[in-house]
Amino acid sequence: MELDDLKKNWEAANKDIEIPQRNIQEIIRASSGPLNQLRRRFRKGMILMPFIAFVSIVELSSRHSFMMEVIRWYIVGFCFLMMIYFGVNYIMINKLERMEGDVKGNLEKQVRLLSKSYSLRLIITRAMPLVLFILLEILMIVHPQGGFTKWAGQPLMIRVTGYAAIIFVLYFFTRWATYHRYKKHIDHLQTLVKELS
């Protein structure tokens, strides 16, 4: 049997299909689609991040230990980066939700936006340890007796090599982890776009 044979019977085949009855009004009011859920999550993130940063500054400023200083400033840096991430993704979701364009144009848009989000995620994930190491070095200079005295006592070359080794491992780990979660999907969409060219 070929596709043309199926086409001849197609209308008859679909005539008797029993379509499950759904409440359309309920669906359009529920607004619980995955894109909407993501949008809500990103909006919450944008509001929550500055709040967490503020609370951690207030909460930890009364404790004057070296570690608390490191944690406090790291949280502030982390919240700042995450706020950017949530903000960019929030804008992206609004653009992604416009589905009325043709399939090719929509796929190209998806690839472009998802690639942008993927790159941003990679940059932020990789920037996190870098921010932590820079912060640690600065605080070791500002508070020489604060803590990490053993690590601070090591020659700069050793410390830089240690940081570089961690960043090197993280580079490959993040690449592997994000590939399976995001890049694979983007690559697949890219293949589909090529098919339409």
């Binding site: 049997m1 596709l3 005539k15 939700e97 090719k104 929509n106």
Partner: protein
């Protein structure tokens, strides 16, 4: 009041074209739960887009676009389940002998092995849409679509032959 009218108008149009949405769900989602989720997602996206619909294209063209775009975008979330051929509408084909039914099953199985774009083209072809409308939905020229259609037929022939 205006919103209520729009909602009612939308519901009427969706009811009239429900079969298209249902066929797309069956084409892209393999389990009943996935189909139900996809149906809801398509209807919700249609509603979001409906407020921007100005009638510049046929309603059906617009509906196919939104539905295909939503279905392709939602694939990532679905579990990779092998299509359950028994759930395809084989039994609803009139006057088929046992052997024809088997062949039909093979054909459905082969269609489920096509990629998302090819499946969309096949559905538009089966729904007897003109190449001009297919062009407006897919965003590729009718010439390219004819070539792709011919390749898809060859591919399906090959897939069903391999199985036989």
């Amino acid at each position: 009041m205006l919103k209520e009218n729009t909602e009612k108008d939308f519901e009427t149009k969706i009811r009239e074209n429900e079969l298209i949405i249902y066929k797309i769900c069956r084409l892209y989602a393999h389990t009943a739960a996935d189909r139900d989720d996809l149906y809801q997602e398509i209807v919700y996206q249609l509603w979001r887009s409906y407020q921007r619909f100005r009638g510049e294209s046929l309603f059906s063209t617009w509906l196919y676009r939104v539905a295909f775009n939503t279905a392709i975008a939602s694939l990532r979330k679905q579990s990779q389940v092998v299509a359950n051929i028994d759930e395809q509408p084989v039994s609803s084909i009139p006057d088929t002998t046992g052997s024809e039914e088997e062949q039909l099953k093979e054909l459905y199985k082969a269609i489920s092995r096509l990629n998302e774009i090819e499946r969309a083209i096949v559905m538009l072809y089966l729904d007897d849409r003109s190449y001009e409308e297919m062009e407006a939905i897919m965003g590729i020229s009718s010439g390219t679509l004819r070539v792709r259609m011919s390749r898809i037929k060859d591919k399906l022939r090959e897939l069903t032959k391999t199985k036989a």
